[in-house]
């Protein structure tokens, strides 16, 4: 037993001593060289840079480090945050000091970055070996084990072998031989490997883990400092193609050396022994994790930097459209900000800031948009992007702009209004069991659905008979009359709760309470009736108007205003109310009013989409085309224009591919999962299906593509087609949906099934109403992640979809449907045509070489990456949402 075991250690150290400070500083230095090494590897800082070329980026880093550490330090002194870790403090100091020293060296001495790296490595080696010596000679207070252990010995031995071969070989040459014809470099290699192992295993742990580390780091440092391997260095072995250059090897040396030095320094810092091993492992594991994150961020940032300019060329949005887009964001930000108010988690300044920031950002954007509207001047940010014209790069000017255009696209209204309506309906509880029951309400509840059904029936009849059968103007008379009646009834239903709350006997609070029943019936009836009226309008082609003014949109606006007023009154009354029950009723009434208002807005948009007629109110124009311009995503390629256009056909193609594949694979996959989990006996057959599923999941995508090209294409007419792409991607999606759904269904507790069976409910009903809803989070997450994967799948699409570079026309699936009076009655030409898709677009640009525009390829890649990461983000959000909903968190 070594004397280390006899020594007493202190439980709490008040302050770190010099030994510990120096070692923490070394860890900081190794972190700095690691980060700069990555920067050099990524060519952010050139390895041969000297003087101010090198000094400036280093100075930037140093300033950033001083700023970051300084702010935290000041906050610590002021008591705002509490930094209690001595190690963190010391390492941060080390980072700042090393960066400042490196910057000073870069400016003062005319050294290259490579040489600077070498010096850094040497300093680390010296620090590490000094720490080992200090511990061995009992200068420092440590608790080392008798040996560094066999594992460390073998690891260092292996490194020693490599070093021996490289250094020994290059010093004595690979040709010289010793006695008996044994090559010298083999002897040196073996000696070095064995020597390293011995040096690691035999001495006490403090020497055993610092000396070999210092030898390795020192050797690397000497190699780099003396420029034996430096900026211009190159090695092209004859036995392999290609070679190694200093630009890659030196940063790799630095990364490896600083990681070894950081590990040894961390170990020494904790006084060796069990704590030392823990801290050393902690360092290495964390640096590794950081490396993975770095890789991911690098890819995203790299693609974004290359592609973002092209992707957003000519992007412009009208201020009014911007406000419409902001409305749902505002509601979401508001909910985020309101979230934990009143709970203990709320009592932290930082958390409050985090909660409020999105709301503030939305407010700031809204203010900017309003400013543009008020001044009537375009706000733009000019930048340039390059395109390839006749194999020559051409720089084009463009800008991001917010224009004061008073136009809104109907699609924006539908999306924003629809989202808000669904959001508020989900927030809306119920207004049942309040207020008084009356016969009139029962009548309304019975009559309104029949009225809706009747209106729809009338629309279908007119659509079948034609607009004026036998000369009778059916659509102009009956159709218009019915549409008008439906819309008027909707407005009447919307106004009635407003009247009930606004006027009548008693105080407003009493009226609000009494109106509760009327509210839900009225507003839901109004939404239903207006929806029917808009649909009927499209079915019958009726378009009731008063002179030049269309009546339906005007009525929809009136209804929106009425519902909005109603919500406002409820909110105002709510402020003066203390009674909990009444507050709940008022809140529900207000939410329903907001839901109705947003629903009416969405219906307004739907009306314009269905009648194809813009609505103009004074300066504001609401039409089929809005003021959002985004050439890259929303326009097709323009072969001869001054501007290159975009990849709209590819976007449409990807949307249809994903839709088709999901429509095909999700029901099949979930159905199979239900059968396997709920019905099939567990046994050989299910095991076989499981193996088959996993094998299908592991099948390379290009094999799916081959299968599609050889099997599906000949059966679909022989040409590359959208339908074949959908089927192949569906095959790929199938196993993932099956696997995840199965796991999700399996994880639904048996108690639910028992409880349902004990109520006499059949197995299928149980699955439908209890098991599947409970398994929904897993199923949905699986589907979304799978869709994210197939959205970016390239190889099979090249084989079955066709790869079209710069297509000028988007595939029109909805318009491609044609009805026949003979089998198969319905065909779709669009589905059997080749189409573009985002991944094949990227591939086509790459394979087309210089004739395609590389920056267009990067922009497509950027959009593709955004789409796939977007699916991933949606998957995470959905899972969280469903989990909360199910577990009642």
């Amino acid at each position: 037993m070594s004397e280390a075991y006899v020594r007493e250690t202190t439980l709490v150290t008040d302050d770190s001593d010099y030994f510990e400070r120096v070692l923490d500083g070394t860890v900081g230095l190794s972190l700095v060289s690691f980060v700069v090494g990555i920067a050099a590897l990524a060519d952010v800082i050139a390895l041969g840079a000297t003087g101010s070329e090198l000094g400036r980026p280093l100075l930037t880093l140093a300033v950033a480090a001083v700023g970051g550490v300084g702010v935290v330090a000041i906050c610590d002194r002021l008591g705002l945050v509490s930094i209690t870790s001595q190690r963190a403090t010391n390492a941060a100091t080390g980072v700042v000091v090393s960066l400042l020293a490196l910057t000073a060296l870069a400016f003062a001495a005319e050294m290259t970055l490579a040489r600077l790296f070498g010096i850094t490595l040497l300093v680390q080696a010296v620090a590490v070996v000094s720490a080992g010596a200090a511990s061995r000679f009992d200068v420092a207070d440590t608790t080392p084990d008798p040996s560094a252990g066999l594992l460390a010995g073998l690891a260092f031995g292996a490194i020693g072998l490599i070093f021996g071969a490289a250094i020994g070989g290059s010093l004595v040459g690979f040709d010289s031989t010793l006695l008996a014809g044994v090559p010298t470099w083999v002897v040196v290699t073996l000696a070095s490997g064995v020597g390293m192992t011995v040096v690691t295993v035999l001495p006490r742990e403090d020497i055993g883990s610092t000396l070999p580390a210092a030898l390795i780091v020192g050797a690397l440092g000497v190699t780099v400092t003396t420029a034996a391997v430096g900026v211009g260095w190159q090695w092209n072995p004859e036995t392999i193609d290609g070679g190694f250059t200093g630009g890659v090897v030196v940063p790799l040396f630095v990364l490896f050396g600083s990681m070894v030095a950081g590990w040894a320094a961390s170990k020494a810092r904790a006084g060796f022994g069990a704590r030392g091993r823990q801290l050393g492992a902690f360092y290495v594991v964390n640096v590794n994790a950081a490396l993975i994150v770095t890789v991911m961020i690098t890819i995203v940032v790299f693609v974004a930097v290359k592609g973002i300019g092209y992707a957003f060329h000519g992007f412009a949005i009208g201020a009014l459209s911007g406000l419409v887009v902001l409305a749902p964001l505002f509601v979401l930000a508001l909910q985020w900000a309101r979230g934990p108010a009143g709970t203990a988690r709320w009592n932290s300044t930082v958390r409050q800031l985090v909660r409020v920031t999105p709301l503030a950002a939305v407010g700031a954007l809204a203010a900017v948009l309003l400013g543009v509207l008020a001044t009537g001047r375009t706000l733009d940010y000019p930048f340039t992007y390059t395109v390839q014209v006749n194999r020559e790069p051409v720089v084009l000017d463009t800008s991001l702009a917010i224009t004061p255009a008073l136009e809104i696209g109907n699609l924006l209204l539908i999306i924003s209004g629809g989202f808000l309506a669904v959001y508020f309906l989900r927030k809306y509880g119920t207004l049942r069991n309040v207020g008084n029951k009356s016969d009139r309400l029962v009548t309304v509840r019975r009559l309104v659905p029949r009225a809706i059904g009747g209106l729809l029936l009338a629309g279908v009849i007119i659509a079948i008979l034609g607009r004026s059968p036998a000369g009778i103007p059916l659509s102009e008379t009956v159709g218009s009359g019915l549409v008008l009646a439906g819309a008027l009834a909707a407005v009447a239903f919307t106004v009635s709760p407003l009247a009930a709350v606004g006027f009548g006997d008693g105080t407003r609070r009493e009226r609000a309470e009494q109106a509760a029943r009327v509210v839900s019936v009225s507003l839901f009836s109004a939404l239903g009736l207006l929806t029917t009226a808009v649909l009927l309008e499209s079915l019958s082609g009726a378009n009731p108007s008063l002179g030049p003014v269309n009546i339906v949109p005007v009525l929809a606006l009136v209804a929106t205003a009425a519902a909005g007023c109603f919500a406002l009154i409820c909110a105002l009354t709510l402020r003066k109310t203390d009674d909990a029950n009444l507050r709940r009723i008022l809140r529900n009434e207000g939410t329903l009013g907001l839901a109705a208002a947003s629903g009416f807005v969405a219906l307004f948009g739907l009306h314009i989409a269905l009648t194809q007629a813009a609505y103009i109110a004074g300066p504001v124009r609401i039409g089929l085309t809005g003021s959002l311009s985004w050439p890259m995503a929303l326009e097709a390629y323009k072969p001869l224009g001054p501007q290159p256009g975009g990849i709209w056909p590819a976007v449409v193609g990807t949307i249809w591919l994903v839709t088709g594949a999901s429509a095909f694979a999700v029901p099949l996959g979930v159905g199979a999962a239900i059968f396997l989990t709920e019905y099939a006996e567990q046994g050989r057959a299910t095991a076989l299906v499981e193996i088959a599923t996993n094998a299908l999941w592991s099948t390379p995508s290009v094999v799916f593509g081959l299968f599609g090209a050889a099997f599906i294409l000949p059966r679909l007419g022989g040409d590359e087609s959208l339908l074949a792409g959908m089927l192949v991607l569906g095959f790929m999606l199938l196993p993932l949906v099956l696997i995840t759904s199965r796991e999700a269904i399996k994880s639904v507790p048996d108690e639910y099934r028992d409880a349902s069976a004990a109520l006499g409910v059949s197995r299928w009903e149980t699955i439908r109403s209890v098991v599947l809803p409970a398994a929904m989070p897993g199923v949905v997450t699986g589907v979304i992640l799978g869709v994210g994967r197939i959205a970016g799948e390239t190889a099979p699409l090249i084989l079955v979809l066709g790869s079209t570079l710069n297509s000028t026309r988007a595939i029109d699936v909805i318009g491609g449907f044609r009805f026949l009076n003979q089998p198969p009655f319905i065909i779709n030409d669009a589905l059997t045509q080749a189409s573009a898709a985002l991944p094949t677009q990227v591939w086509a640009v790459i394979s087309a070489g210089v004739s395609g525009s590389p920056s267009m390829g990067w922009a497509s890649a950027f959009l593709l990456l955004t789409v796939v990461l977007g699916f991933y983000a949606v998957g995470i959000v959905t899972r969280t949402y469903f989990r909360r909903k199910l577990n009642y968190e």
Partner: protein, 306 residues
Amino acid sequence: MSNAVDTERDTDTELTEAPSGKRTTGESDETVEEAWTDYRFDGDAKLDVENLDVWYGDEHALKDVSMEIPEESVTALIGPSGCGKSTYLRCLNRMNDRIKSARVEGSVKLDDTEIYDPNANLVELRKRVGMVFQSPNPFPKSIRENVSYGPRKHGDIEKGLLARLFGRDDTEEEYDLVEQSLKQAALWEEVSDRLEDNALGLSGGQQQRLCIARCLAVGPEVILMDEPASALDPIATSKIEDLVEDLAEDYTVVIVTHNMQQAARISDQTAVFLTGGELVEYDDTDKIFENPESQRVEDYITGKFG
């Protein structure tokens, strides 16, 4: 200690001798006498169980149990763990059908109708014989949906767009049913203002009463309860006990319990199962707890065994 050893040895003997049909077990080699389980009462039997045997694979879990359960009363089933009382309970609404390895022989009659008839309608049976489980198991749905789940799935309550279009909307009926069931289960006061909240947000005791309400909403005649209070704290337990006593005025309740005080407090008659899946004694609760015929039952009740 010696008792336990004896029991174990005797159980072994009994397992080997079982095919001969000789019923000897227990520390005193006591034979179950026909008279101990031949309980007679005034009025009709709601459930009439005759010669019921259950096997799980090769394990003989319930041995030749015969027992008549009277209408509108509380019958408690007590006994040590693994004695087959839960198995017996699950036989009464054929929940054992859901266990693949289970095999049931014998006869169970509900109002003189054989429920093990091959043509028996399981939906109807389970509507008439409801069940409440050991741990509260409400669905992850709203309180209202939990209660109206059974009737909706049976088509007794119709809701939704189609039902509305054809004027068959039973929303009012649903609310009346939910209110009535929750009132019966003594939960209405606590949840009437949050019927749309998720049922998993209720406390354990409330969840169990919700499960009882869910069972009542289907309109059962018999309610089987498998240790309904074992996962609950004393206050929630006493609420469930009061509820069981109230329910016995309209329903036939069969309740499995580990808690002998509970059985003594709430039941009208008690059946004692002992190790090996045998019904040892069945009589009025007072008689069982004050003056049992069997020595083993007396030992079990006084805590010397089990």
